[in-house]
């Protein structure tokens, strides 16, 4: 049997102090995460400023439906995550487990949709190195090597985002397992709070990827 009592580490005076320290630690980690994605946003900005025509045209070739639906999927997962934290705070063990499982499943849904999208990109010749046709872009009056640069940035940003999501799904899945086992109480739920912070952060990154990657050009 697992203990249900809150494991207060000996170097903390109170559970509240432990909670605030853990939360702060996650915020500090998210700072470093934002600097990681910041580098990618910087690369995007520099190349887009220098190659506006190619970014606008290549962006329009991406499928906005995948991007839009996936945004809704991630936002919904953020809602279930936030509700999960609320149910942890109020001691609703079963609801907490359901909330976490739904969050993880929505994360998996995002990845599955993303997989279909990548396959679609491959079919549409939008994968430099695997499927890419220079002539197609010459006909549109833009330089293919710069289109490739946009696509590489697209795969880097969405790929690293997806990697974060995979890690997030593992963490939320683990939390769901422990929640089901009754590890958490209204006094001791900071792992849920901290896991939630990470999950919402990954959502925030995607919120910015949507207009930058899919809507760089005007879609008619």
């Amino acid at each position: 049997m697992d203990t249900k009592s809150p494991p207060l580490a000996h170097h903390f005076a109170t559970l509240k102090q432990q909670h605030e320290t853990a939360t702060l630690g996650m915020w500090m980690f998210l700072v470093t995460e934002l600097m990681l994605f910041g580098g990618l946003f910087l690369a995007y900005t520099v190349y887009r400023v220098r190659n506006p025509a190619e970014f606008a045209i290549a962006s329009k070739h991406l499928n906005i439906w995948f991007g839009g639906i996936n945004t809704v999927v991630l936002l919904t997962s953020s809602l279930t995550m936030a509700l999960g934290v609320y149910w942890a705070q109020t001691g609703k063990r079963n609801l907490l487990t359901v909330g976490l499982v739904l969050t993880a499943l929505l994360g998996v849904t995002f990845l599955v949709i993303k997989g279909f999208e990548y396959y679609g990109d491959y079919v549409e010749n939008l994968m430099p190195g695997l499927a890419f046709d220079d002539a197609e872009w010459h006909e549109l009056g833009v330089r293919p090597e710069r289109v490739k640069m946009f696509l590489i940035i697209y795969y880097m940003m969405t790929g690293i985002h997806a990697l974060h999501l995979i890690i997030g799904i593992a963490i939320i899945g683990l939390l769901a397992f422990w929640a089901h086992r009754g590890h958490y109480t209204p006094a001791y739920y900071y792992p849920i709070e901290v896991g939630g912070l990470y999950w919402h952060f990954v959502d925030v990154i995607w919120v910015f990827l949507l207009p930058l990657l899919y809507l760089a050009g005007v879609r008619h």
């Binding site: 939360t23 702060l24 500090m28 600097m35 910087l42 109020t90 710069r146 919402h200 930058l212 879609r219």
Partner: protein, 111 residues
Amino acid sequence: MAEHQGQVRTYGVIFVVLIALTGLTVWLGSIDLGEWHTPVGLAVAATKAVLIVLFFMHMLHGPRLTWAIAGTTLLFLAILLLLTLTDYLSRDWPTGRVRGEMETSSAQFFL
């Protein structure tokens, strides 16, 4: 725990607003706003991000130290972006070439 009263309702409202703003983003993507196309898209995204951070990530009622950390991060992100762009945006200045025209030798780096 009285402090959590009404939280479900708040989360629901925030969620509906986030979905609406997502629809707005996609709709705005089909409208020609010229130079404002990207700034407007990013403004909507920033609004969504602020809502998520304030409500879902509990920053609104969180410790002020969290605000300091987030503020400092944004400051350093701004330094990263702006100082780098002072270089890239000014590379064509002596010749007065139009942004995006890539005929200068320094621009070959981008090919």
